[in-house]
Subunit: 213 residues, 2 copies
């Protein structure tokens, strides 16, 4: 059965983005450091068409995260292009002509837009009828493979609160951001987690949870 | 050199106590579940004069936490007896006549009170001249041994913000409390952590950090 899963890097104090997010700093000032552990990895660099990089205890975690993903869900803020209607029709995301997804990506938005076919198998579909409809379309596109929620925090929260997530892996980075966007809030009263796996790796702790329905 | 250290259990969403703390529920409603992993352990039960219990990957963590502690710092709220002056002079903490500390315990309070000598080597000293004075007295009492901050969150925060803590071990429990007392906030702008160790154990992830000065 196809799973709905999410993997996200979080500071020790619970933030997945730092304050003052902007087009120049999509993860806020200092927020990029949340991803230092992953961008250094050979496994991540390979998936982004780059060479070199480290191999360490995070490698199997990232390989597992990337494998068997047939479709991706993403919030409008993560896709970018500013809030509101798509005035800038030229905006095609942060990732250039050949985004690193290589599968259909369903962007949750209140503002309709035609699908955007990129190179390398990535097509952005803009879904305006809510998280359940988006998940249904993503599952259909994914077939037997899993659906992954790329972010941001608000979208992950909405799927968690709706009881739709199967697996959540939190990559806890030894940073104290002191503010920004928190991951685990607005989750309702009855969310239950079960610890599946904990892995120590350089500069990060991988905490994998199953979400109990 | 004697270290200042703290070990505390925290929910996945960052809380060390849940909402609605009361004399009946000192950790709030549902907050006691934060300690399920530790009270089941033989190592913890032994230190509290009880028999039986489990031995698992948390055992060496708890043994390390308990060893080499020569004095303890504690907030007034954790000691209990209500806020304000010591109207109830009979209040001697939550732990009975023979508290499980067996070393001098320095309670941070705004309200003076005579030292309280209990059985088994625990004496509560009430310190009214601030966290640095309390630490100085605790270090003196501890000699070559370490000083441990027992809690609550506010006291740990104050010592972290003042740059006085050497080691922080956060025991992350797969609970979502949704509210209560957060551990890692009000820490100032320049707190830096370095990940020392991550240990997977049944129902808990032990994340040990060195605080970089």
């Amino acid at each position: 059965m196809s799973k709905l899963k999410s993997h996200i890097s979080m500071s020790a104090d619970g933030y997945v983005a730092s304050p003052n997010q902007s087009p120049e700093n999509p993860l806020g000032e200092g927020g990029e450091s949340l991803h230092d552990w992953v961008v250094a990895l050979e496994a991540w660099r390979r998936s982004h068409g780059r060479e070199g990089g480290e191999i360490n205890a995070s490698t199997p975690i990232v390989e597992e995260m990337l494998e068997n993903v047939g479709a991706i869900l993403m919030g409008r803020n993560m896709f970018g292009g500013g809030p509101g209607p798509w005035d800038d029709a030229e905006w095609k995301g942060w990732w250039g002509d050949d985004p690193p997804f290589h599968v259909p990506v369903f962007v949750l938005t209140h503002h309709p837009r035609e699908p955007l076919e990129m190179q390398g198998g990535t097509t952005f579909f803009f879904v305006t009828d809510g998280i359940e409809a988006a998940l249904e379309r993503a599952r259909e596109a994914a077939g037997d493979e899993d659906v992954s929620i790329a972010g941001g925090a608000e979208v992950i929260q909405q799927y968690l609160a709706a009881g739709l997530v199967d697996e959540l892996e939190v990559n806890v980075v030894p940073l104290v951001l002191g503010g920004g966007e928190r991951l685990l809030e607005n989750l309702g009263d009855d969310l239950e987690l079960e610890q599946v796996r904990v892995v120590e790796a350089p500069g990060v702790a991988h905490l994998k949870y199953r979400v109990v329905k």
